[in-house]
Structure formats: C-alpha cells, structure tokens
C-alpha cells in the first residue's frame, strides 16, 4: 500500500507542480482569487477531515486489540465525517458557481474585471477545481472502501490476527487527509493578510 501511495504522491505531485509554477508567475491574481474563497467553511472542513483521520486511527487500533464493536463504531464515524466533508465541499462548489468563478461557465472574476485578471484568476480556479476535485474523487473512493469495511466488520471478519484490510484502507484514508493538509493552506490561505 505504501508503494501505491508513492504513486499517489506522483499523481497529486504533478498538480502541486503546476500550482507552484502558476502561482509564482501570477502571485497577485492567485492571492485575489484565494481571498474570494470562504475561509470558515474551509477551516471547518480541515478540522472535520483531521477528525476523520483520528477516528480511522482509532478503528485500526480497535481491530488490533479485538474490540469489534468499537471497530465498527469508529469506521462508521469515519464515514460520517468523510461525508460531512464532501457535503461542505458541495456547498463551497455551489458558492463558486453562483459567483461565476467556475472556469468555462460564464467565468467572470468580479464585475469590471480586466481580461488579464480574468485569465489569471481563472488559472487559480482551474487548479482549485482540479485539485479539490481529484481529492474529492479520492474521498468518494475512500467512502466506498469504508462501506465495504463496515459491512465486513459487522460480519466479525477482523481479529487481532487478521486486520490487514483495516490497516491498508486506514493508510489510504490518512494519505487523502495529508493531501488536504497541503491543499488547505495553498488554496485557501494565500495573501489573507491583505
């Protein structure tokens, strides 16, 4: 699983590279665009996702000490927190839709924005949707895996001797959390002091 996660580092890494290059080329536009994203929801989402990592780590622990009821409870909590995250993401995307900040869909950064501003902030939003979209896709896959895990744990399949699926899916879930830990400051916290 760690080797698979290495390939995921490559996968997301490419987008982080694109982000790095574009942000260094258009720092002011990126700052403006970032400031237009709602910070409270993003912060809440970060807290929710890190909490889901906690519950996931607790479920791995529960599987290793043979506490089957707690295992299922923590897995369900992880799934709920992950779904809350996706729900808040949906709300954020809707906000962007209403503000005409979705590239290609009647994009206009703000009334009276110049062509250059629109072009450069559109770069930010392309990256925003691509990166958070890819991340959300990984969350959805993770949610599916969690549903399978919950079903299996309800059948009592996991014991201290055999809890490998819980471990592996835990690693995957934590990785997706790490991606968000980097996405959050890079997308939401540019130039917030202005």
């Amino acid at each position: 699983m760690w080797v698979f996660l290495s390939t995921e580092v490559l996968f997301f890494g490419g987008m982080f590279m694109t982000y790095t290059l574009n942000r260094s080329t258009y720092p002011d536009a990126f700052g403006e665009a970032s400031r237009s994203i709602g910070l409270p929801l993003g912060t809440v989402n970060t807290i929710v996702l890190i909490a889901s990592s906690l519950t996931m780590a607790m479920s791995v622990w529960a599987s290793q000490v043979g506490k089957k009821k707690q295992l299922t409870t923590f897995l369900i909590l992880t799934l709920i927190l992950g779904t809350v995250f996706l729900g808040i993401k949906g709300v954020e995307y809707h906000e962007k839709f209403v503000e005409h900040h979705i590239p290609g869909l009647n994009y206009n950064f703000e009334p009276g924005a110049s062509v250059a501003t629109n072009a450069h902030t559109q770069l930010f939003f392309s990256l925003y949707f691509a990166m958070t979209g890819l991340h959300a896709l990984h969350m959805i896959v993770g949610a599916g895996l969690l549903i399978w895990l919950i079903k299996q744990s309800l059948r009592g399949r996991f014991t201290p001797e055999y809890s490998t699926p819980v471990d592996l899916i835990g690693l995957y879930w934590h990785f997706v959390d790490i991606v968000w830990i980097f996405l959050f400051p890079l997308l939401y916290l540019i130039d917030r002091h202005r």
């Binding site: 760690w2 080797v3 996660l5 290495s6 580092v9 490559l10 890494g13 490419g14 982080f16 590279m17 790095t20 290059l21 260094s24 910070l39 912060t43 970060t46 807290i47 890190i50 909490a51 990592s53 906690l54 996931m56 780590a57 607790m58 622990w61 835990g170 690693l171 934590h174 990785f175 959390d177 790490i178 830990i181 980097f182 959050f184 400051p185 890079l186 916290l189 130039d191 917030r192 002091h193 202005r194």
Partner: protein, 89 residues
C-alpha cells in the same frame, strides 16, 4: 495516544489560519508561505509518523516514504529552477 496528536494537529490548523492573517512578508519576503508550508509539513509528518504508524514501521517502509518525498522534492526543485532560469523577452 492518538488524541494528543489530534489536538496538536488542531492547534497547528488554527495556528496556520492565524498566521495567514498576519503580514509576515514585512519581516522577510515570502515568510507567509514558508510558515504555511512548514506548519503543513509538520502536520503531515505527525499523520505519517503516528496515524500511519510510520515511526513504528520497518526500515524498508520508511525508505519508501522517504523516496516519495524525495521524488517530489526533485520534481519541484528541478522544474522550478528550469523555469526561473529561462530568459523570457
């Protein structure tokens, strides 16, 4: 215990949001992004070491982790140094 790590992660999250609202670029150009990335790296390290049991994993697993990070570092460093040293007209 995981809960302690969780609280440290929470503190780091709130810290990074707070630091973003301060103009640190006054003191050192680019300090805001350095602080933000440093805090994010700390958070990610805590997750890898403790939630993902990286600290308690065999050496070969730790090697795989370090290699991924190293690869990312090379890509970012080499690509950026390529772009930054081009002479655009």
């Amino acid at each position: 215990m995981y809960i302690t790590i969780f609280f440290v992660l929470m503190v780091c999250t709130l810290l990074t949001v707070y630091a973003a609202t301060l103009d640190l670029n006054e003191y050192f150009s680019g300090l805001n992004i350095i602080v933000a990335l440093a805090i994010a790296t700390l958070k990610a390290s805590l997750v890898v070491l403790f939630f993902m049991h990286g600290k308690y994993s065999p050496k070969r697993t730790q090697l795989v982790i370090i290699c991924s990070v190293f690869w990312l570092a090379i890509m970012l460093f080499m690509t950026m140094s390529d772009y930054v040293t081009r002479l655009w007209s």
